[in-house]
């Protein structure tokens, strides 16, 4: 119990901002517009935030927050409950497990790792939904979503790095 209280006590302003940003990133892709890109193409803003958070998070509550947002995404889109939770949690676990390697990798490498892992996530999602609904959905929307998300990664990731600079003590530890 002490452990839980201590861990949730670490829920600071940065964590709250990232959580809020993650919810907004899910909500913003549902905003209705008649301009810009096709509705079948969805920029995965949430993947940028999960990627960013996974590189830094060592807190107990982060996966819980990410699973919650996955559930919101499932509820909003209408995919089977658990589909996006699975993707978000696996994506987080993969990135978090590589966080030490990522810390020493130049930006192009980080981008490449994001591309591989987000590509795998989209593929897993496609297979999961195909398995659940017994249909093979038109993959083009998803392929384009993945490509656009990967292409825009440097812009949004740099923005996140600027808004949430790494804590100073991290440099001391490494």
């Amino acid at each position: 119990m002490d452990f839980l209280i201590r861990e949730f006590g670490k829920f600071n302003a940065t964590a709250f901002s990232l959580f809020l940003l993650l919810i907004l990133s899910v909500a913003i892709s549902k905003v209705r517009t008649s301009f810009g890109i096709s509705a079948d193409i969805e920029i995965g803003f949430y993947l940028y935030i999960i990627f960013f958070w996974a590189r830094r998070a060592e807190m107990f509550y982060v996966p819980i927050a990410i699973a919650m947002v996955g559930l919101i995404q499932d509820a909003l889109i209408g995919t089977p409950l658990g589909g996006w939770v699975l993707i978000f949690c696996l994506f987080f676990a993969l990135i978090h497990s590589q966080s030490r390697i990522l810390a020493r990798t130049p930006f192009v490498g980080v981008w490449l790792i994001f591309a591989v892992f987000s590509g795998l996530s989209y593929l897993l999602l496609l297979l999961t939904i195909g398995w659940m609904d017994n249909v093979f959905v038109d993959a083009w929307g998803l392929i384009w979503s993945g490509l656009v998300t990967i292409a825009l990664f440097p812009i949004f990731y740099s923005l996140l790095e600027t808004v949430f600079p790494p804590p100073q003590d991290r440099f001391l530890v490494s």
Binding site: L24, R32, L81, D138
Partner: protein, 295 residues
């Protein structure tokens, strides 16, 4: 496994964030496998979450709406002269069509009297705004700002200015989810062309749904009009859907009149369809048992 663990000050070893995340991933697989998708409870959870999220989505929609308005205004100014000419032409064509329509209405009323059926009930509708677009590769749904407070119920039909858009699947107090006719869970009974071939229009998440369960000898050709048949009583008869598009070697598809991306306002048909129930009972007797009106 050691990498998934984290040493804490008390000497106990617990899972780190990645490990906890994997546990959630495993739980989600169990949920995916064991929780039925069409369970009413699941639908209610979805609707509750959608209602909770709706203020955020509406707030985020405000700037998008402003940009949309500006863009459409700018576009209107650019094509003002062209639009005026096109409208003039359309008005003169409509004037001719209107006289024909009045005559057809009179005839139709007379036929109804003769057959003692009321195919076209006075449908009560309520208009609402579509504020969230939940279309994506996996599902084609929208959120409309009408709920139980406005008399909305699950299963009611939603129409745009040019025809049927979809049906209500879940209802909250102030918002409802609309499953589009293009969603792969959508099945709409239709009649095609003047031969009145009966079939089911089935969504597969593409922009153009396909025609399924048509009779083997059905004559279905390009540009035939597709309208709802009203079979089953859940969707009123006679709502416009689109025209047939044939590609050799594939099932006929329906080019929809009402593209979902262009609709911002839609109407929900509130009326129960007593006359349609009556239609189910009377029409086999009137038209013969082989018309596929169903059990």
């Amino acid at each position: 496994m050691a990498g998934r663990r984290k040493q804490i000050s008390g000497g106990r070893t617990v899972l780190n964030a990645a490990g906890i995340s994997l546990i959630f991933a495993m739980i989600s697989i169990l949920v995916l496998y064991f929780v039925p998708r069409d369970d009413p409870g699941v639908g209610q959870v979805r609707q509750t979450i959608s209602e909770l999220m709706s203020p955020i989505i509406r707030l985020l929609s405000l700037p998008a709406g402003v940009v949309d308005n500006l863009a459409s205004k700018a576009q209107s100014y650019v094509s003002l002269a062209e639009e005026r000419d096109a409208l003039k032409l359309e008005v003169s064509q409509l004037a001719g069509a209107r006289a024909e329509l009045e005559r057809t209405k009179l005839l139709l009323g007379r036929y109804r009297e003769l057959l003692d059926i009321n195919l076209d009930p006075d449908l009560k509708t309520v208009a609402g705004t579509i504020y969230a677009d939940l279309r994506g590769p996996f599902a084609k749904t929208l959120l409309i700002d009408l709920g139980t407070n406005d008399g909305i119920q699950s299963g009611q039909s939603v129409v745009g200015p040019k025809g049927l858009l979809g049906r209500i699947v879940t209802v909250g107090d102030t918002s409802s989810r609309v499953i589009l006719v293009t969603d792969f869970n959508s099945r709409i009974p239709v009649v095609i062309g003047t031969n009145r071939e009966r079939a089911i229009m089935t969504g597969d998440n593409r922009a153009e749904p396909y025609i399924d369960f048509a009779q083997a000898d059905a004559q279905i050709n390009t540009d035939m009009l597709v309208v709802t048949s009203g079979d089953g009583g859940s969707v009123p008869a006679g709502l416009l859907l689109g025209v047939i598009k044939i590609v050799e070697g594939y099932a006929p598809r329906v080019e929809l009149f009402q593209a979902p991306e262009t609709v911002t306002q839609a109407r929900v048909i509130l009326a129960e369809h007593p006359s349609l129930q009556k239609l189910d009972l009377d029409l086999p007797a009137i038209l013969g048992p082989d018309r596929g009106l169903g059990e």
